[in-house]
């Protein structure tokens, strides 16, 4: 089954997010209050290793498992959407303690109330699609 590897990768992701406590509302508060290195260490390590990995993939032209070139897409160059959109995201992240991935891991973990957060995030996504042409990007 072709999709199995994505389910397995998702399972690994869920375990990692839970065991690292990155899905914890408390840890996100601790991060925004700069009272522990934990979350900064996690993101920092991931980014440093990520930079090395992406650099190596480009430098050595490493291909994916199908033999196709791994392509990276540059994000659109502008600033309003990243600053404004990012800030709105941040408001929600600090309030619910969860970004999209952790919301779902939390539901699996048994925090049923996160279903409400997911519903809200779907409404928010729909709302964006509805009014995106009126927003500065």
């Amino acid at each position: 089954m072709k999709g199995l590897k994505f389910i397995v990768t998702g399972i690994l992701f869920g375990i990692i997010m839970a065991k690292s406590e990155a899905i914890s509302w408390y840890r996100i508060q601790e991060m925004f209050r700069f009272q522990s290195f934990h979350m900064f260490g996690i993101i920092g390590t991931a980014v440093v290793l990520g930079i090395l990995a992406v650099y190596s993939i480009k430098k050595f032209k490493i291909r994916d498992f199908n033999g196709n070139a791994i392509v990276f897409h540059d994000k659109d160059k502008s600033w309003p959407r990243y600053i404004i959109g990012g800030s709105i995201f941040g408001l929600g992240w600090a309030l619910t303690g969860a970004c999209p991935g952790p919301m779902f891991v939390n539901i699996g973990y048994g925090y049923w109330a996160m279903i409400i957060v997911v519903l809200g995030s779907l409404v928010g996504t729909y709302l964006y699609g509805l009014i995106k042409d009126k927003l500065p990007h």
Partner: protein, 187 residues
Amino acid sequence: MLELIRQPWSWYLSGTAIAGIMILLLYFGKSFGFSSNLKTICTIAGAGKKVKFFDFDWKTQKWNLLFLMGSVLGGVLASTVFKSDQPLQLSKATVQDLRSIGITFDGGLNPSDIFGPDFALSAKGFMILLTGGLFVGFGARYAGGCTSGHAISGLSNLQLPSLLAVVGFFAGGLLMTYLLLPLIFKI
């Protein structure tokens, strides 16, 4: 072995493992970005008929939905087979700060003061969680990605826009933490 996985993971192991997920998805020819799933779910629910933004072939994102389902299962495993019996080691300063805005540290991952049924199913609690989610969903699409797409994938590819998005994440997060949370939970 099981004991090793059960205990809370260090930041360097956790960060390495997250980079591993990103690399694994690249190797599978995909790119790590979780919030795209929210758009895909809207499309499956029929949003594409009314709004052009959602009018795309969602089957191209099937892999990401499978990844999402896996992440829920991963959460189930983490709370059962791999569950740690130690309380979360939250910084004392955070425990105190949270107490001052009326949120008790209970040793779990998330406070029952917010995610317990009493609060979450109250009119106020429900609205807070729904609105918080709305900000996350709206903001992620507006910014073109969330923590995985921008902070991990984007920064790894040295994208300046992703750095701007992360600055935004923190601007909003700090505003919520220091100004709004005390107002929201003290009323």
